[in-house]
C-alpha cells in the first residue's frame, strides 16, 4: 500500500473514531476530566497527610533513666516530643504506631551539653 493510501485510510479511520460518541468519551473526555481531578485529589490528600503528620507531636517512650533524673527532665521539657512512661510492650507499640520511638537511657547518663537534648 502506498504512503498516500495509508494517509487516506488513516484520515478516514480518525474521522470515524471522532464521530463515535463512545470512543470520544472513553479516549478524550474521560481522561480530560478524570486526570486533573485525580491529580489534584491525590496532591491535596498528600499535602493534608503530610501537614497532619507535621502537626502531630510524636510520642517517645523512655526506658530507664531512674538514676538520671536530669536527663529525663531535660527530655520532658522538649516541646517537639511527648514523653510517655516506659512499658515492656514498647516494640508492639512501635509496630502499632502508638509511639514513634523508644529511647533507652543508659545508667548514670549525664547531660554534658544543652545541645545534646535538641532534636
Amino acid at each position: 500500500m502506498s504512503l498516500r493510501n495509508v494517509g487516506i485510510v488513516y484520515k478516514k479511520e480518525l474521522t470515524e473514531a471522532l464521530r463515535d460518541r463512545r470512543t470520544v468519551i472513553s479516549t478524550i473526555l474521560v481522561p480530560l476530566l478524570l486526570f486533573p481531578v485525580l491529580s489534584v485529589g491525590f496532591g491535596s490528600l498528600a499535602i493534608a497527610l503530610v501537614g497532619k503528620a507535621k502537626e502531630e507531636t510524636p510520642k517517645v517512650m523512655l526506658r530507664g533513666g531512674e538514676d538520671s533524673p536530669a536527663v529525663v527532665e531535660g527530655l520532658k521539657k522538649l516541646d517537639k516530643i511527648e514523653i510517655v512512661p516506659g512499658t515492656p510492650d514498647w516494640k508492639d507499640q512501635i509496630i502499632n504506631k502508638e509511639i514513634r520511638a523508644a529511647v533507652e537511657i543508659p545508667r548514670r547518663a549525664k547531660i554534658r551539653h544543652r545541645q545534646d537534648l535538641q532534636l
Binding site: 493510501n5 487516506i8 485510510v9 478516514k12 474521522t15 470515524e16 464521530r19 463515535d20
Partner: protein
Amino acid sequence: MIEARGLSKRFHDKKRGEIRAVDNVSFTCQPGKIYGLLGANGAGKTTTLRMLATILEPTGGTAIVSGYDVVEQPDQVRANVGFLSTATALYRRLTAQEFVEYFGRLNGLDEPILKKRVDAIFTRLDMNGFRDRRCDKLSTGMIQKTSIARTLVHDPPVMIFDEPTNGLDIMSARTITAFIRECRDNGKTVIFSTHIMSEVEKLCDTIGIIQSGKLLVEGSLAQLRDKYAEHELEEIFVKVVTPHYVSQEAN
C-alpha cells in the same frame, strides 16, 4: 473485457477435505454486453466473481480483466473494476459523500477530478438530498445508491455485480437493474451473478450456468432455448443443473 482461463479455486476443510469451489471455469465477457452467471446457492458464482475482482486469489488458471492479469497485476485490475454486492457494507459514520470520495481517493483520483465525478454521480443518481447524511441514517434505497456511486466513482470499464438485488424490495431492485443496463449502454463490460431467472432473462446477453464449481453451459437465451427445447429459463436451468445438483446442505 473479461477473459477467464481455466479459473479454479480450491479450499481445504478439515472435515470435508479439499473443496473445489470453482473448477476450471473459462468464459469471455465482451464490452457493451452483460454476462449472467446463473447458479444455485453454493454453485461457485460468488467465488468466481471474487477472483475476478482480486478479492480471492485463484489456485489454478487466471483471468484477464481489462487487459490485466488477476494473478500478476491485481492492483491494475482493481483500478479497472467496480464491484457491487448487497453484502457490501458502508462506513456508518461517514456521510454518503465522504464514503464515495474515500474510494475515489483510494483509486487514485485527484481532488479536482474527484469533485467533478462525485458531483456528476450524485446528480445522476439523485443523491444530492442526502449527500451530507451519515451512512447509518440512510434508507435501504439510499444505501444502494451510495454503493452504486462508490463502484462508479473511478469510472471503471468493468463492472462486477454479485447477487446485487438479493434481499432488496422491488423499487431498490429496479434501481440496480436500471443501473446495470446503463453500464452496458455506456460500453462497460458487465458480469453479474444471480439465481433470479427473471433478471437474467431481462438483462443478459450471454448466460453461463454454473453448478458445483463447473460452468456447465453458456450461450444467449435464444441459443439455450433452442438447445434444450424449453422456453422458460427456469426449465432450462433445471434440465442443465439436475444431473449435477447436490444440495448445499449435503455438500
